[in-house]
Each structure stands twice: as C-alpha cells, then as structure tokens.
Amino acid sequence: MAFIEIKDVRFSYAMEAGAEKEVLHGINLDIGQGAFVALLGHNGCGKSTMAKLLNGMLSPSSGQVLIDGLDAGLEENQLPVRRQVGLVLQNPDNQLVAGIVEEDVAFGPENLGVPPEEIRRRVDEALKAVDMYHYREHAPHKLSGGQKQRVAIAGVIAMETKCIVLDEPTAMLDPRGRQEVMETITRLNREKGITIVLITHYMDEAVQAGRVVVMDKGQVLMDGTPQHVFKQVERLKRHDLDVPQATELCYRLRAAGVALPDIPLSVEECVGMFRNLLR
C-alpha cells in the first residue's frame, strides 16, 4: 500500500443556481513514502484542488483519497490526516499567523497539544532545517519572500508531518527566493525522507523532482520520470505546456537538422553535452 493513494477521485465545485462544475474527472495516483513528485499543469487544471484534497481541506465528490490508509475525505479523519500532510500555500504573507518567526513555527505543534519543552526542541530543529534559525526572533514582515516561505515550511516540519504539499510555493518569489525554496525542499526530501508533492508551473523546478505528473483539464496526462515526460516535447506542446529551456533549445536544434545525441533537461546537462560534442 502506497503512502498516498488517490482512487478514481472526482471533484465538483458548486456553481450558482445549483449547477456544478466538475474540475477533476477521475484521478488515479499512488505516491510512495519519501517520493518527490512534481504536479504540473495549467491554471485551472485542478492542481490546487488536488492540494486541498490531499490534506482533507476538501472532500472528493466521488472516489477516495487515502493517506497512510486513512480516508482524508472523512470529517473525523481531518486532524490525523493534517498531522501527516502539511500544506504550504503560494502567498508567503497570508499563511504566517504570529508576529514572531519562532512563534509562528510553534503554532502547529501548539495546536497538537505538544508539551512546551518538546515544542521548543521541534521549533529549533525545524528552523535549523530550513536555515532560518538566526531569524527566529524577527518579525515576518521584515523578511524576504523566500525567507517567509522557508518559515512556512518550518511550520509544517515542526508538526513532524511525513508529507509536505506545496501549492506553487515559488510563484510570488524572485529568482533567488525560488532557488532558496527549491534547495530547502530537495534537502528535506533527501535528508529527512519527507514526501514532497510540489505543485508548480515552472518546468525547471519540475525537472528536480523524481517523478513528474502532468495534469490537463482535470485528468492525468502523463506520469513518469522527468526524462520520460519532457522528452515528449511534441505531446506537451500540443497541450500548450512548456518544456525546460534547455530542452526547448535542443528540440529546436534537432528540428533544424542538427544531430544531437540526447535531449537534456537542465542547463548543466545541456552545457555538458555541447562541450562533448564540440570537443
């Protein structure tokens, strides 16, 4: 049994005058413990709905979301599910509760009724894990976007969740903040074995994941390793989806008749390939 099991999940939003709009049309996904999955897709393809289904903020219209065997759609499972799956939102300002960094990180464990000394330990550890320990007594509004987002991640880690779902965590950040957040996520996945579900529309971020799931119009379009997914450039383009810049470059060179041995995913890979070619 996988850590997260999504079984034939459909979801409809209630519209005006009793009408309903189905945004997810039968999703099936299994995500194993310790995986790093990127969820890609356009705005309105149902990505954010997926994020809220994963920690029980929304319940599926039909089908099941199982977190470690618990049905996330049931009211009585809400707290146990949220203890396992933390959610980080797009806007770094709106998700911090307290006026001091360390007190914000303590918010989750405080809600769980963890004893004070244990909270202190978890908060210090979480802040060190995201490299924000030196800022523990700062006010959140004095921090940069990337730093705020790292504090939000620390707030989830302090709850000792097994999985973090991040809903476009870098969309409002500058390139530097984006890099900070991505480095933090990959490190947490690698060193602490925390399952990461990263929802994004930046292809360059998706490449860093171990598995990419592409969604389109409420359905899973592709599912596989970044190599597998991004090499299907034409298929992605047919659905108006981008590919990483390096991939795009090599794809066009190939189309123009340049013989390239491989289609790289990252700038480093691309540079390496050209260096070998030109030697």
Binding site: L89, A98, G108
Partner: protein, 272 residues
C-alpha cells in the same frame, strides 16, 4: 512611509523591567494607576511618583522616549490645568472680572497635572518594556478565569495576535494601492474634507477585497496546521514567575504600606 509606524511602541532592551513577567507588569500598572488616584496629598502622590520614576529608571529606556510619549497629551494636561486654576475656592490671589486665582486653585492645578502625567508615564513603562505578543499572552492568561463564564478569551487573544501580525502588512498594502491610484491620476491631497474622504474610496475598496482574500488563505493555512480553537492547545512559551518577580511583588507591597501611611498621616491636599 506608513510602514514606519511601530506597533505598541515596544522598545527592546535588556533590563529588569523587560525581564519581569508581563502579567505582573500589567497588574503593577493597574496598581500604580490606582495609587495615583487614591493619593490624597502631595506626600503620598510624591511617593507614587517616586515609585514610578524608579520603574522608569530600571527600564533602561532613555528619558527622551518617555517625554515623547507625553507629547500627545500635553494639550489635555494644559486644558485641565487651566480649568482647575480658575475653579479654586478661598481668598483670591488675583482677580480679573469673574476669573479669580486662589492658592487652593493653584495647588489643585499642580496636583491634577502631576496625576495625568504620571498616569501616562506608568502605562508607558508597560508598553515600552513589553512586546505586543507578550502583552497578548499575558492578557489571555489573566482573563482565563472568564472562559469559565463562556467568554471566548482564547479567540480574542488569537484575533489580537492576527491583527498584530497583519497591521504592518495592510499598511504596506495601503501605501502600494495609494501609489497605484496616484499613478492613475487620483488626487488625494487637495480639495475639501468631503472630497478627500471620497478620494479614499478607491483605496479602501481594493484594500478590503485583498484583506478578505488574505483572510481566506489564512484560514486555510491555520486549518491545515490543525488549528481547532483553544481546546487542548499548549504554548511553547509558558509564563512563569521567577525569583525576581517575587522581589518586585515584595517591594510593591512595601511601597503600598508606605503609601497608605503617608496618605493617612498628612491632610488631603485638594479642597473643594
């Protein structure tokens, strides 16, 4: 420019007053305000002033800060002082038409002015040495008995925490929206009062819309982090009385005893 406003005027430093338990500080502030109003003569009032001056000295906050805190109430002090001067009874020292100044009036004026000034200084010691979060925490703890009467103490404290967190954010946003509207040709600085208030509407509406959007996000974030009200909630920072808090209580009790003695031994200063 708007973001420069500091909240709660907290002035971080390492002093005996900063270290004291915030609950104790709130109680002592109320205690000294009562003392100031209970003082009947200049001796006991002087004692209360001395007591608060000691607290100010121990706070290690420059006198300049305290004087600045007094600035907004100078008018009020002057106003009550003038009123009291002319309301005295007894033989006039100086008379001009119906206005007369008596010795008693002058004393009353001095007494009342000292009262108001010291009152502000006493509450400044509290707000200067206690961070807004500590203050919220202490109020929550002090009011906790009320939750037995179904007063939602925890919810109020949570609301205050969130307000403190979001005020600087919304100020920054107001600034941004104002600049954006000015860039679109909005005129906010000229015209009469009505016109200026009207000019604020294009600022307030986007501000409210964004505040609601933020509230929605915040609610999602709080729920995701297992927030379910105050029930079963613990705190990372537990307020505990330390030995030096007990020393402060002891000295306050001694001061109170001296105050009562002074108040009883000397005759009341204010005579109506």
């Amino acid at each position: 420019m708007l973001s420069d406003i500091t909240l709660g005027q907290f002035f971080p430093a390492k002093s005996l007053m900063h270290k004291a338990d915030p609950r104790l500080k709130i109680c002592l502030t109320i205690f000294s305000i009562v003392l100031i109003f209970a003082a009947g003569n200049f001796f006991s009032l002087g004692w209360a002033v001395l007591y608060i001056a000691l607290a100010m000295a121990l706070s290690k906050i420059p006198l300049k800060m305290y004087l600045r805190a007094l600035k907004p109430i100078l008018f009020l002090v002057a106003f009550t002082a003038v009123l009291n001067i002319f309301y005295g009874t007894g033989d006039p020292l100086f008379q001009w038409g119906i206005l007369k100044i008596t010795k008693n009036g002058l004393l009353n004026c001095l007494f009342v002015s000292i009262r108001i000034i010291v009152l502000i200084l006493a509450s400044s010691v509290l707000t200067f040495t206690t961070s807004p979060t500590q203050l919220t925490d202490a109020i929550e703890r002090l009011l906790r008995p009320l939750s037995k009467l179904h007063v939602p103490v925890h919810d109020f404290a949570m609301m205050m925490t969130i307000a403190l967190r979001f005020v600087p954010l919304l100020m920054e946003e107001t600034d941004k929206i104002m600049s954006a509207q000015k860039a679109r040709g909005a005129d906010m600085e000229s015209g009469g009062l009505v016109q200026r208030v009207k000019a604020l509407i294009p600022v307030l509406i986007p501000l409210f819309v964004s505040a609601f959007r933020r509230a929605y996000d915040l609610a999602t974030a709080m729920e995701s982090r297992c927030y379910h009200g105050g029930e079963g909630r613990t705190k990372m920072k537990v307020l505990r009385f330390s030995s030096h808090d007990y020393c402060i209580i002891g000295s306050a009790l001694l001061a109170l005893a001296a105050f009562i003695t002074l108040n009883m031994v000397f005759p009341p200063a204010i005579v109506r």
